[in-house]
């Protein structure tokens, strides 16, 4: 006979243990260590809210300060491993196993700890994948989350940085897990209810805001002429002919350059209202000039961006905002939107091989995937048509009956042939393969698979992989835009000339672009200050990005 109700009973025990250290739902800071020791059991699956941007930093430190003799062998299931304390938890032996998506600033340390056996890796996921597994086989026993404010009943206001919180709480709280929130302050009435209090068991008043990384701020001052040229190629050679209206941009300088060229170069090409009208995108500061020039109808956001709060609130015609006026972001919904409702993903990467696989892993760094593979993949479940999707499908498979032919999402990798310190973008073999061997992984951590990528854009030109008809053509198309890298110099010049005749490879001159016209004067903003001024003073960049 099964003894039904065991999980409810276990939750009851945790709640009782927690209440010993709380007044109502509120846990005073001095009692936090004893509280955590009481509600977390060794072996628990714990989601410590580390998102791409916002961090439950105070709860992270408190967890890392527990005694591993009291709590150990935790299984951390969290999208972002971003703070040093996230890894201290493993270093000290409090946690053992890890399933995650993104590790950004901790990418070097996480690699060392994986090699050193300090972390037992489940898998590196995409965001949607990890969120999905929260509901199937990685459901947290305890979630430690972050919000802006709470009332005494536990209703939470997350402000512009809602991000992963609704997903984490949904999976945890409705499956008998315990939810603990750190908030900046406890108020009588929250500005809007992002998370209902019924789902939140305890609240800690941190007295200061949670940490947020300004991950999507790109200083226009650092954009190079080569990046501008590459952006011009993308706009004229891809955005225009496909008529890409619904899309997602990556976070690199190449796409920032595109954003800043829309109101200048894009305007000159007559592309306003024809491209870039709807985005799944964080509030990139570099989008301000295009928004102000009336290019953009709508943007849905994964998270917010530091300093963009007032601007977003004042542009609710474009952004999703709540009754309190501030942005409502939601990573799970926005990733889904990026996957299914966008016709293009364009982003940069660190390595591309001869087949077109790309990866951001190097042998000493494991940065994870974040959301790029969700947006940078062709969704096989898509059924609605659109002009770019149909056109791309036709280029890939001209012979099939159009009514039975799948369209294709445009998945564009953009970058310069050489990156920092003259590291080539194009390689014979991805470092990800070496890493997989060393760590004995079943899968190499590939960000965008070769069968998903449709175009590669570099300063040398555009390679349209949809129109390649053989493995050999595909390889030469890639070599043909690989510039002076070893890969590029080993090209078959004759074959490449043929590919160019067919439009598989397009050079700047084929598109009527003179590389010498790639000038920083083309940028709608050349500094963070310009962005601030373009926003009418609504954008308030963090101090480290200012030069005034």
């Amino acid at each position: 006979m099964s003894d039904w109700g065991m999980q409810k009973a276990a939750l009851g025990e945790r709640l009782a243990a927690g209440r010993q250290h709380a007044r109502g739902k509120v846990v005073p800071i001095p009692d936090l260590p004893a509280f955590l020791k009481g509600v977390i059991r060794s072996g628990d699956r714990v989601c410590l809210e580390g998102d791409n941007q916002k961090q439950a930093d105070m709860l992270a430190s408190a967890l890392a300060n527990l005694d591993p003799r009291d709590v150990h062998d935790l299984h951390m299931v969290q999208s972002g491993v971003v703070l040093p304390s996230h890894l201290d938890i493993f270093e000290k032996g409090i946690a053992r196993r890890l399933d995650f998506s993104y590790s950004g600033p901790q990418s070097a340390r996480i690699a060392r700890m994986l090699f050193g056996g300090k972390i037992e890796l489940g898998a590196v996921h995409t965001y949607l994948e990890l969120f999905a597994r929260y509901f199937i086989d990685l459901t947290p026993n305890v979630a430690l989350i972050a919000a802006v404010s709470a009332d005494k009943d536990g209703n939470l206001y997350t402000g512009p940085n809602t991000e992963d919180t609704p997903t984490v709480v949904e999976a945890t709280s409705y499956k008998n897990g315990l939810v603990v929130a750190q908030v900046t302050e406890i108020v009588d009435k929250v500005p809007r209810v992002d998370i209902p209090g019924d789902l939140v068991h305890f609240v800690v008043e941190a007295g200061r805001p949670f940490y947020v990384e300004p991950l999507f701020t790109r200083d226009p001052a650092a954009i190079t002429e080569t990046q501008i040229l590459t952006a011009m190629l993308a706009i004229k050679g891809i955005y225009a002919p496909y008529g890409v209206r619904r899309l997602n941009h990556g976070i690199g300088f190449n796409t920032a350059a595109i954003e800043l060229l829309l109101p200048t170069y894009g305007e000159k090409l007559g592309l306003k209202d024809k491209v870039c009208t709807h985005f799944a995108l964080n509030p990139h500061p570099t989008m301000i000039p295009a928004i102000e020039a009336g290019w953009v109808e709508q943007i849905h956001c994964f998270g917010s961006e530091v300093g963009m709060e007032d601007y977003v609130a004042a542009r609710s015609d474009v952004f999703f905002t709540g009754p309190d006026g501030s942005l409502r972001s939601n990573r799970a919904f926005c990733q889904t939107a990026g996957l299914y409702a966008c016709d293009m993903f364009i982003g940069s990467t660190l390595q591309i091989d001869l087949e077109g696989h790309s990866s951001t892993v190097t042998t000493s760094r494991i940065a994870g995937f974040g959301g790029a593979p969700n947006m940078g993949s062709d969704p096989r479940g898509r059924r609605h048509p659109s002009e770019p999707w149909l056109k791309a499908g036709a280029e890939a498979d001209p012979d099939t009956n159009a009514a039975l032919r799948r369209g294709r999402k445009l998945v564009v990798q953009i970058g310069e042939t050489f990156g920092d310190r003259n590291t080539p973008l194009f390689v014979e073999r991805l470092d990800a393969l070496d890493l997989a061997e060393e760590l004995k992984l079943d899968l190499a951590p590939v960000m965008v698979y070769s069968d998903d990528v449709t175009h590669i854009v570099t300063e040398e030109g555009i390679a349209n992989l949809l129109m390649c008809r053989s493995k050999d053509e595909r390889e030469q198309a890639i070599r043909g835009v690989a510039g002076y890298t070893d890969i590029g110099r080993a090209r078959d010049a004759k074959l490449i000339e043929q590919l160019r005749q067919r439009g598989v490879i397009q050079r700047p001159e084929d598109l009527g672009i003179d590389p010498l016209d790639a000038d920083r004067n083309l940028l709608a903003a050349r500094s963070i200050k310009d962005l601030m001024l373009a926003s009418g003073g609504l954008y308030r960049p963090p101090s480290r990005f200012r030069n005034w």
Binding site: A221, R520, R526, S527, M532, L533, S543, R546, N547, W548
Partner: protein
């Protein structure tokens, strides 16, 4: 009077190279360089450190016309070794100033420098001393020496001392004018004294707006080559010289500054003391609004 032609394309002073700045500053086509790059007068000392050389050693000197008037010009290239003063670099400016005195011609110095070039530190330090002396001798002979500050490297170290000898200083918001750099202060005093990565702090302590408000600069202009040009034309119209009266006035001005602001902790307090409305908003104000707010600034008229 006919306005001489000049380049009228918008050009960010901060982003422009030394040569672009000169081209945009002077009357179109009027610039003639002395010891140009084709003569390859490179630094003899960088090879010791296996460092790359630049054919003009990071400074362009020559003559041109500004609104029809003959002027001598020097422009530092802040991207080459931080625009730092080495032996050749410094000697080109020394020579230019000595010529200015001999020919009674005004000089514009387009600063963009981190100070002394460490790989030739002694030569650079002496060059700065020689330049300061040459500036004063030229000014005493009735020559205007105008400093323009708004480049990437700012105007630091010995460069800031040279700027202090100029008869007029024109600065943009991007311009920073200071002896010790942010990292140096942080290294010596700790991050609690000065967080060099807090760029807002750097700019409100050393930046163009603050310098203009306390009288450390005479004119505040937009980050545009044309704005620098217009301001330089105006600056050349008055010639204060450099006698005991001028320096006594500067003494009084600097003493007054110490009395008024000597005890404050932060630039915002100074701006508040100046009677500026909403002093915390000063950094965000566009030029027009800033200049209106700066009505009560400490002026440095003729006391430099």
């Amino acid at each position: 009077m006919t306005a001489a032609t000049c380049n009228d394309v918008s050009l960010s002073w901060y982003e422009a190279s030394a040569r672009q700045r000169i081209d945009a500053l002077v009357d179109a086509g009027s610039f003639c360089e002395f010891i140009g790059p084709e003569l390859r007068e490179i630094s003899p000392h960088l090879a010791i450190f296996d460092l790359p050389e630049q054919f003009d050693d990071g400074i362009v000197v020559g003559r041109g016309r500004l609104d029809g008037k003959a002027v001598l010009l020097a422009a530092q290239e802040g991207r080459f070794m931080g625009g730092a003063f080495g032996e050749v670099h410094g000697a080109k400016l020394t020579g230019l100033l000595r010529a200015a005195r001999a020919l009674s011609q005004d000089v514009l110095i387009l600063f963009d420098t981190g100070g002394v070039r460490l790989q030739e530190a002694n030569a650079g330090e002496l060059a700065i001393a020689e330049i300061m002396r040459a500036v004063i001798e030229a000014r005493r002979a009735g020559v205007n020496v105008v400093g323009l500050i708004g480049g990437r490297a700012g105007c630091y170290g010995g460069g800031s001392l040279i700027a202090g000898t100029c008869s007029k200083v024109i600065i943009s918001e991007q311009g920073r004018l200071s002896v010790s750099g942010p990292e140096v202060i942080e290294t010596n005093r700790g991050i609690e004294e000065f967080d060099s990565r807090d760029r807002a702090l750097v700019w409100r302590t050393m930046g163009g707006k603050h310098r203009f408000l306390i009288g450390g600069a005479d004119a505040f202009v937009d980050d545009e080559a044309l704005a620098f040009r217009q301001s330089a034309i105006v600056a050349l119209k008055i010639s204060p010289g450099c006698d005991v009266a001028v320096l006594a006035a500067e003494q009084a001005r600097l003493e007054r500054r110490l009395q008024r602001f000597g005890e404050v902790e932060d630039a915002v307090e100074i701006w508040q003391t100046l009677g500026i409305d909403q002093p915390t908003e000063i950094p965000a104000r566009p030029t027009g609004a800033f200049l209106r707010a700066a009505n009560n600034r400490e002026s440095a008229d003729d006391a430099r």
